[in-house]
């Protein structure tokens, strides 16, 4: 039986977004004539860039330090690598039961005069669409975790259920080698000890006390992807705290020393017709403007920020437990929500951990996405103007080849528990990439 859901940008928000209206609808495009690339994504565990350059990587470290591409040794053995990582206590001290070492991702790419289109599909581990994210429930007078990723402590303890969105991720750099090492090391150039779920992770308090990243600066409480060039030094702790001064960072950014990162999120972006448009620089930053989602959690009050407008949710301010991961249940967004009122909730009420924004704007608005999950296979489309003219995006151009990396978060996971590609290449109108986009005429 065909069980599937469709999260179509077009169906959900129609022509709210000018970008969607002007581009072709990738879901109805003729993809049969577009070459398919089968890419093996493998499980990387804690194999950070620090690990790659360490004695633990054995002879590989010499190759990395020499500037060799990972593929020069590992091409074709991705599946074995993933299996080995899952069996390695140092690279994966907490393996998730039943997780395979690798998955197959099928990628197609095309472009027309104005837009670039990416289609990606993969068979999911779960027997249902991972189109839901985390949830909180009101129980015994307080809000507790109801659903979250499989490595969340409450989920591991069995007091909460696994629930986290699936994601298709695409990272790319310019074709001038502006980000050192990306062409040879791929996404590993962004992955360091000290990041969430990696070795030597700093405490929340340590990050919050940092003058640039912490409370008085970027207001971060954990460390996410960053480029080594944004640090004065890299060490076993990753160098997370050794951020270069503003003038040095501004100069790097001005010359385009960052990586574009697209994340088609099955819950937090696709339902509003968008992919999360980000870039990796001194942190994994969101593009400027109003992004497709915001956290629905007030950390100080320890309660949600928004709840459903009862007038738009059959008189209820929240979901019921029976509506947890129900495709027909409404998603909390800016059109059906009101500020949270503690007096109106009752025991057993469930609220999403994030609120969606149907009115994205700025650079965060220019990356479109849609997706369907049918018979255990996700198919996601991401598309954008070739050149958005935004300072936090990297322009694509016909006749060029770019260094890229692909990744997938599958089966209610986050952070390192994803599948990644080797450093690959994407060509537009050429034939020298691992993925070759053809021109639509």
């Amino acid at each position: 039986m065909n069980k599937g859901i469709t999260l179509s940008a077009i169906a959900v928000i129609g022509t709210l977004h000018a970008g969607v209206a002007l581009s072709a609808d990738p879901a109805t495009m003729k993809w049969d004539s577009v070459p398919k690339s089968q890419i093996t994504l493998f499980y990387p565990g804690q194999s950070t860039q620090n690990w790659m350059k360490s004695a633990a990587h054995k002879a590989g470290a010499t190759g990395v330090n020499e500037g060799k591409n990972c593929l020069s040794c590992h091409e074709g053995e991705e599946a074995d690598l993933g299996k080995n990582v899952l069996g390695s206590k140092s690279l994966e001290p907490n393996p998730l039961p039943g997780k395979p070492g690798a998955i197959k991702l099928t990628v197609q790419a095309a472009y027309d005069k104005e837009y670039f289109y990416l289609k990606a599909s993969w068979p999911t581990q779960a027997k249902e669409a991972g189109a839901f994210h985390n949830y909180k429930a009101f129980k015994g007078g307080k809000w507790v975790t109801y659903g979250d990723n499989r490595t969340n402590k409450d989920v591991k303890a069995g007091t909460a259920k696994p629930s986290y969105e699936d994601r298709f991720n695409f990272m790319f750099g310019d074709n001038k080698g502006t980000v050192a090492g990306f062409e040879a090391q791929g996404c590993w150039v962004t992955c360091h000890n000290s990041m969430r779920d990696t070795p030597n992770e700093p405490t929340k308090e340590q990050v919050e006390a940092h003058p640039v990243l912490g409370k008085v600066g970027m207001k971060k409480s954990d460390i996410r992807k960053y480029l080594p060039e944004t640090r004065t030094a890299i060490d076993d702790a990753g160098g997370w705290d050794k951020v270069k001064d503003k003038a040095a960072l501004d100069a790097l950014m001005a010359k385009g020393a960052f990586l574009d990162l697209w994340q088609a999120r099955a819950y937090r972006s696709i339902p509003v017709g968008k992919a999360d448009d980000s870039y990796v620089f001194q942190y994994r930053n969101f593009d400027s403007g109003k992004k497709p989602f915001d956290a629905n959690w007030d950390g100080e009050k320890k309660e949600p920020k928004f709840m459903f407008d009862p007038a738009k949710n059959s008189g209820r301010v929240a979901l019921t437990e029976a509506q947890f991961r129900d495709p027909k249940a409404p998603k909390l967004d800016n059109t059906n929500s009101v500020p949270f009122d503690a007096a109106k909730v009752k025991d057993g009420d469930v609220l999403p951990g994030f609120i969606l924004n149907t009115k994205t704007d700025g650079s965060a608005d220019d990356l479109n996405a849609s997706g369907t999950w049918v018979n255990g296979v996700w198919t996601m489309y991401v598309w954008r103007k070739l050149d958005t003219k935004q300072k936090d995006d990297i322009a694509l151009a016909p006749g060029q080849t770019y260094p890229v990396g692909f990744a997938v978060h599958d089966d209610s996971v986050t952070t390192r528990f994803h599948y990644v590609s080797m450093p690959l290449k994407l060509s537009l109108g050429k034939n020298d990439g691992h993925v070759n986009a053809i021109e639509l005429k």
């Binding site: 350059k53 360490s54 004695a55 633990a56 054995k58 002879a59 470290a61 010499t62 190759g63 330090n65 020499e66 060799k68 020069s72 040794c73 590992h74 074709g76 053995e77």
Partner: protein, 200 residues
Amino acid sequence: MRRLWGSVHAFFASPLRGVLAVIGLVVVLGLSFVAAEELNIQANSTKFCVSCHSMNAYVYEEFKTSKHFTNVAGVRPECGSCHVASRFWPAVWDHAMGTHDLISEFSHDWTKPETFEARRSAMAEKARLKMLGEDSQTCRTCHNFDAIAPSRKRGERAHADAKQKNNTNCIACHYNLVHKEAPLTPAFTQAIKEAVSAAK
């Protein structure tokens, strides 16, 4: 001085005495070489090395778990096979330099593992730099680069690349084969880079 020269001159006035002197010198030198070589061999042996606590308690135990100790070919090197030059005079030099280790052996409490671990990185760096500087000569005593058939594709690729670049200094890649993992120090990493550049 004149008297000494006179005595020598008088002694060699007889040709027989001259011949006997040369024979005597050859015999003494020969026996010295034999003794020195025997000393080299004995000092190269694992048995000799592990007679020191620091070697026996740590590095020998690690050696026993390595492929260099037990393997399909049934070949087992002695400590000196890797760490001491195979030619006579370089071996004498290595052993002379090695006497420094005796000072270290008796000036630290090696019964404590932390004593060894605190020095592991520096000791590994010293051994690695020595081997790198010698173009992995001791490795090549047993291993012929062209005769190596890596079991994995990655090994095949790496060896083909190394040969093409004339960069076959074994230790540049195989720096953690026998003993417990020691970090890649900046000095050794830099030395590898220089060795790679020099090979190009």
